[in-house]
Symmetry: C3
Subunit: 213 residues, 3 copies
């Protein structure tokens, strides 16, 4: 299995993981239909990368062959069909890990894509890496009238950002080890985020802005 | 009257219809001024098509001659001037039909445009057809802090999607009858949606995701 | 100091002013972390111009050298570090003036940029001038789950729009005095808005749409 095939499958897995987690956006009070599930699932899966591609001015990644969007729609339909399954609390927690997995892959792949476009001023791969990971979920939350990730003290952006920084370091100093760096940095994000989910870590209070300080 | 002239006028009508319905977004509690009415009206009218054109990477449709944006602004100003008129419940219901009319035209025109760009994997004309129809309204609702269409059980996306599917079938199997197909598929969406408004049809419950199932 | 250098520094000042005002979006109820401050600050600073550039189809202004985004991130970090300072009511009022300053510069610079692209149908520089000024703040408010500017009767869009109209007049009738026009029109917006802040002017009631009229 070469790097391109690996990336293809990892990307597909990340799309499916994110599309599935869209069901997390369903509030207890709302009745949403299968088409809303598909729209929210697809936006969660491809929204961050779409925004990134639009801003850097390259063709949107899911357009030519429509693989990602078809996967996202299919995964959303499966989520809808299996909906009784998602009442289970254990499944809900599993979703958080799936989301961490998707975020880890999207962040690192986004970072690498931006670097490959020659946008190598370090802040740019970081901005777009984080955007690839959290953009879709934020758009989903806005459309679902939920509070976005930004307004919580969830430990989410920090693991993503640290992983992107590691990846930029690999791209800059060890450009011959990008593939192994990709795997390690994705794992770094996933494991840090997984610890945060498992032990309910939050952003440390000295990094929090409170109106009453 | 040839096909191009017909399309020009139908498109103008759809823009006006959508701009007018922006007044639907005004909540009883909010005081909004004429400029907010213009912004919301214009976004409702051109937002979905703008998003579609950005994502597929073609010039945004209202830029070269600014006809659509001028119409949208003009219609919004008229709505503002005629505001006492909109207190009437009958007018409110008429607005729902106007909105259905705009959605029907935008959906089918979006589908045809995407097909014409060579994006003929069936899911793409469907995604962008639906986006053309509902995108503007969703952005308007987000800006107006209202619950979006997606979080309701309104029977709206289903008529739009079925019409787009019909149109894709026409484009694929009867490419010589696009004009008549355009009219029939637009009518299909409008009539289905109009029935849903008139008889208060909602999405059938087996297509609804409830947190308590 | 020539026109280009002046514009460079005025633009940097506007970016910093807008990034700082992002702290205005923090609601008393929310705990947001430093990374959310950075994301909200950056979006407030570059969001409106990014949207403008995407829609007109030119490269996004902060991409090539990343100066604006670095300034926005830096300003956001400073805001976070100086957070006790922002509890002061006087500082809060100062922020409103800073915001007026940023809006004035962005509106006029946006108007000039669009005119320079040959989009000289008067409505286009006006649409994009207003978008440059208010776009970032509106996206910030949406992400922070706050009511946007559009749903208030704040006297904000009127000063911006009038300034853009003046600038379009200068560009059309006195194209040889663009630099002096830029300064005067920016000052016009800032002063009108500053008066509105100081004397608590609101949009006059005949321009307000009320559901109960």
């Amino acid at each position: 299995m070469n790097a391109q095939t690996l990336n293809f499958w990892l990307n597909n897995l990340a799309v499916i993981a994110f599309a599935i987690t869209a069901v997390l956006a369903v509030n207890e009070k709302d009745d949403i239909d299968i088409f809303a599930v598909i729209v929210l699932g697809s936006i969660t899966a491809v929204g961050g990368g779409t925004l990134r591609d639009l801003i850097v001015g390259v063709p949107v990644f899911w357009l030519p062959d429509a693989v990602d969007i078809r996967l996202a729609v299919l995964a959303s339909v499966c989520v809808f069909l299996a909906r009784p399954f998602f009442r289970n609390t254990k499944v809900y927690v599993l979703m958080l890990y799936l989301d961490a997995f998707g975020a880890a892959l999207f962040a690192i792949q986004g970072t690498i894509k931006i670097w490959g476009l020659g946008l190598t001023i370090p802040i740019l791969p970081l901005v777009f890496g984080v955007m690839s990971a959290i953009g879709g979920g934020i758009i989903r939350d806005v459309l679902a009238s939920r509070k976005t990730l930004l307004m919580s003290s969830e430990l989410y952006i920090i693991p993503v950002l640290l992983g992107c920084i590691s990846m930029v370091a690999v791209l800059k100093f060890f450009p011959e080890h990008v593939l192994i760096g990709e795997i390690i940095c994705s794992a770094q994000i996933f494991l840090f985020r997984a610890c945060a989910i498992h032990w309910k870590w939050h952003v440390p209070s000295f990094l929090i802005l409170r109106s009453k300080i």
